[in-house]
Structures are given as structure tokens and as C-alpha cells.
């Protein structure tokens, strides 16, 4: 799958099972108690910050994933 295909499929244009179900893989998500994968993220002003930078700044860090719905 090309990067363009990935972007298009991930950002599906309609909430229909064949488009959203393939992405829902919580059962395959990282295990507890093991080093978690790290990724770049962006503040609303465009500044880049890694997820690891955030979790390293706090005793515990709560990350809620979401959108409008």
C-alpha cells in the first residue's frame, strides 16, 4: 500500500463497515508494561513534539484519542 493509499484509507470518507472495521485492532495494540511505540505529534501551533517527551515529563500521562465523534 502506498503512503497515498494509506492516507486515503485511514481517512475514510464514509462510516461503512468495510471502511472503518479494518482499522479497529485494539486486540493487537501494544501490551501493558512494555516499552510503548513512540511517534511525532504536533501542537496546534505546528510545533512538533514526540509522545515520549510528553510521557517523560509526568509521573503518569493520560492520552485520550479522539475526534469530533
Amino acid at each position: 500500500m502506498t503512503e497515498t493509499d494509506l492516507i486515503t484509507r485511514y481517512n475514510y470518507d464514509a462510516f461503512v463497515p468495510q471502511k472503518f472495521l479494518p482499522w479497529m485492532r485494539f486486540d493487537q495494540s501494544p501490551p501493558l508494561g512494555q516499552p510503548a511505540p513512540d511517534f511525532p505529534l504536533w501542537h496546534l501551533d505546528g510545533r512538533e513534539m514526540r509522545l515520549s517527551t510528553i510521557w517523560s515529563q509526568h509521573l503518569y500521562t493520560v492520552v485520550e484519542f479522539g475526534s469530533f465523534t
Binding site: 470518507d13 472503518f20 495494540s29 511517534f39 504536533w42 517523560s56 509521573l59 484519542f65 469530533f68
Partner: protein, 154 residues
């Protein structure tokens, strides 16, 4: 979740909202095609939903979201070493707060000299299902979002 973040901030708990993609694209908030649009949606979400926690935006291909399972509204808690210690496939403030109070107690016991080792536990938590409020959220995205959800789940 905002109020809870405020309550625990002084105890060393950080909290962010990670904007992912539109789970229910509609006429008002359609599917994403650019980072510029993604930032626009995230800013609108901050203002409309009054999210007071820092909002961060994932890459356009959802690299972070996908790696963590791609659920539309999940919550994870990480310790300072970067290990997930709680993961929930749906966000419920009571469940998250229950976990936080437990983990803060763990930290306090360790600070007092207790020798603690981790073990694994699984359990089901329960949340209130408010279908009316959920549909209100879908209406914010537009009629298309409502119709598609109704077609999928009734």
C-alpha cells in the same frame, strides 16, 4: 476528562487529547485530506467541545493512532518510563480516574519503601450509554454522519 486532568495535575499527572481522524465524516467535518485541514478540525474541536487539555495532532496517516489500535475514543495511561499501564478501548472518566487513584497509591507506596512488582489483571468496566447525546455529536458532523451510523448500527 478536562476536570479530572485539572484535579490530578498537581500530583504529577499529565493529560493530552490526541486528535486522530473523523470517525464519522460528515458535511461539516468531512474526511481529512491534508494536515492543514487536520489542524483546522483540531482547533474547532478545542473550541466547540471546550477541550482544555493540550491538544496534539497525529500524522495524516494516523501513524500513532494506528499503532495503538485505532479505536475512535480510547484512553491510555503511560508511566514515566514510557510503558502503558492502562488501556481502554473507550474513554470513560470514572474508569480512568479509578485507575489513576490506584496508580498514585502505587507511587506513594513505593515512595514509602514498599517493594512492589507488577502483575496483570483484566476486568470489564462499565459506562453510561447515552445514545441521544451520541446522535447529537453525529449531527454536529452533518446529516451524512447520522445516516451512516444509523445504517450501520440502527
Amino acid at each position: 476528562m478536562n476536570a479530572m486532568a485539572d484535579r490530578y495535575a498537581a500530583q504529577g499527572v499529565g493529560a493530552i487529547f490526541l486528535y486522530t481522524h473523523e470517525a464519522h465524516p460528515g458535511e461539516h467535518y468531512p474526511h481529512l485530506t491534508s494536515m492543514e485541514q487536520k489542524f483546522q478540525h483540531a482547533r474547532a474541536l478545542r473550541d466547540v467541545l471546550q477541550v482544555t487539555r493540550p491538544i496534539l495532532v497525529d500524522a495524516l496517516d494516523g501513524a500513532c493512532h494506528r499503532a495503538y489500535g485505532s479505536m475512535p475514543n480510547m484512553t491510555w495511561i503511560f508511566n514515566q518510563a514510557g510503558q502503558p499501564i492502562y488501556k481502554s478501548d473507550w474513554t470513560d472518566a470514572a474508569s480512568v480516574e479509578n485507575a489513576l487513584t490506584y496508580f498514585l497509591d502505587v507511587a506513594a507506596r513505593r515512595h514509602s519503601g514498599a517493594r512492589l512488582v507488577p502483575f496483570r489483571v483484566e476486568r470489564l468496566d462499565y459506562r453510561t450509554q447515552d445514545r441521544a447525546a451520541f446522535y447529537q455529536g453525529l449531527e454536529r458532523n452533518g446529516p451524512k454522519a447520522v445516516e451512516e451510523f444509523r445504517a450501520a448500527f440502527g
